[in-house]
Symmetry: C2
Subunit: 339 residues, 2 copies
């Protein structure tokens, strides 16, 4: 399969390393072989019909800060949308970071892929948050495959599990701890006597919170995951405007203490029942949603089989790279081994 | 798809009800339609090329104790293996109960299906426990599909999750609480001050333990699940003879108290690492394997993505029926909509 990879940060680089490492296993177990024909980052791009070498891409990024510096194949000053449209790829992978305040750029990547009949994988949540119903329609209209496993649960296959559950049963309700940063902050406030600001500072120090943590702590990141689950699992056309969102910014020590003394734990919970919402919820200490540290958890309530809960790390570069690889194999198995 | 269903106990009847209820959804979402061409129970069988009516099968079972009493289509005194071999089905579903002391009968059902080029689904663990590597080979040799989702986790898709994880990552270790009866007994011993015999009696009263509970409490049922996971997920040809098994029969109150005072919980854990085993293990109170009541849990340790844990009910008639339905859709999507 010929791949066009957009974004060469932690996720993009982890994916290229993973693909290189696992090439023998993938060939052996699935008969799968991949070729990187185009890789772009914010500083430039590298293009080769014969396939780019992972080690050369990583070395150029390390030494010059961009894959545009790859010998013989490097380009600078090119339009990413144009690269996507012009390249001879079967699949475009968008591994750029989610910027929920400007979804337009990543949307442009997906549109360029779809209108030139290329399958797409994204780990960028921004276009899904604002326009997932339209993107699903556009992919269907152009008869291409579209996957986004890495947007919910990182390397923990939450979407795949939910689809599998929905196949034999009705999913009547979804509840999840869908953001690791806020879960870390709330967990620390429960375990110790620190206040919100100190817990946030600790999360930032450990690399769990962004420089601007508002998308996490205001519940926006969790809400994008609710949007994705609502469209995919509940088949309800949903955008972030349909989700009632409150964050954790105003959580006081008093609130935590009240909760603790009642034997409960305060969590930021994303929920889809009658409607879709993200907000603080008190869960019992023995609830499967009471996951520690920065873990994520998703509980599906099934009509016949009751509650099913999946727990795992919700983010991370290498974790998200494994989700991209699963999506890639899935597309390859769906469209057939011809490409 | 033409279906031959063997076994019309709780699981078989739940499956027929589920298939009838979900027929419109299955037709609409997957373009899937099923026809029951042969249904057998211990008292007889009903056969019709044009398709049997679910309600008539259920009524005959209710009134006469066997589907052999269905008007016009009922038979008695027939050989189940012969029925499987002779019927015009695309898929044979074995919904007979697992009897680990005599795997031969259920083995005969699968062999009859495979040698007459029929796909098969089983929820009967017995033939898998004793001969899973041979059965996988036989299915591959006859180029038929073979599924057994309901044998591990009931309606909780543990095998599907594990396969999905294994696609993009390496599963380096598996640990699970794989038997609900023993988990119920141990959970009750932790929560209260009752002894093993009282907890077992309680489990029997609630229908969690069989009349002869030895397969559960001696760890044999958990070991069969370890066998299935080892073959499917770790790609190691394994039978129950390869699993080191100890049960929970000798757990004393003293053992429970020692464990509790150390902040830990005693669980019957099935594990696959260097080798495969089932035995008592102390887990931390906040471990994801510390699941209450008769729940099951499976933790996969992935090389890149860390620990992923799935929690849900591990058994039940209607739950297992949803697993059969997922397998059926999976086979149908694999072999194509031609049949």
């Amino acid at each position: 399969m010929r791949i066009c990879l957009i974004g060469f940060g932690v996720v993009g680089r982890s994916f290229v390393k993973l693909l290189t490492e696992r090439a023998p296993v993938l060939a052996n177990e699935y008969g799968f072989a991949a070729k990187l024909v185009c890789v772009a980052d914010s500083g430039g791009a590298a293009v080769s019909q014969r396939g780019l070498i992972g080690a050369e891409l990583l070395a150029a990024k390390e030494s010059d800060g961009t894959v545009g510096a790859v010998a013989d194949h490097g380009l600078t000053g090119c339009s990413v949308e144009q690269l996507i449209a012009d390249c001879d790829a079967d699949v475009v992978i968008d591994a750029t970071p989610s910027d929920l305040s400007s979804p337009g750029v990543a949307m442009g990547h997906l549109r360029a892929a779809f209108r030139t009949a290329k399958n797409a994988i994204t780990v960028n949540k921004a276009p899904l948050a604002t326009a997932m119903p339209a993107l699903l329609e556009l992919a269907a209209h152009n008869r291409v495959q579209f996957r986004y496993s890495g947007t919910v649960g990182g390397g923990t296959p939450m979407l795949a599990l939910a689809c599998e559950c929905a196949r034999g049963d009705d999913v009547v309700r979804l509840r999840g701890v869908l953001n690791g940063t806020t879960n870390y902050i709330l967990s620390r406030m429960h375990e110790t006597d620190i206040d919100f600001d100190s817990a946030l500072a600790e999360a930032a120090r450990l690399g769990y919170a962004e420089t601007d943590p508002s998308a996490d702590i205001d519940g926006i990141d969790a809400a994008t995951k609710v949007v994705i689950l609502s469209n995919l699992i509940m088949s309800r056309p949903t955008t972030i405007r349909d989700v009632d969102v409150t964050g954790i910014r105003n959580v006081s020590r008093n609130r935590i203490e009240t909760c603790k003394s009642a034997g409960r734990v305060l969590k930021l919970v994303g929920e889809i029942g009658e409607s879709a919402r993200v907000g603080l919820a008190e869960v019992n200490a023995d609830s499967p949603l009471n996951v520690p540290a920065n873990l994520n958890a998703l509980t599906l309530t099934l009509r016949s089989s009751g509650d099913v809960t999946l727990v795992g790390r919700g983010a991370g570069g290498i974790e998200t790279a494994t989700a991209i690889l699963r999506d890639l194999l899935d597309i390859w198995q769906t469209v057939g081994a011809a490409t």
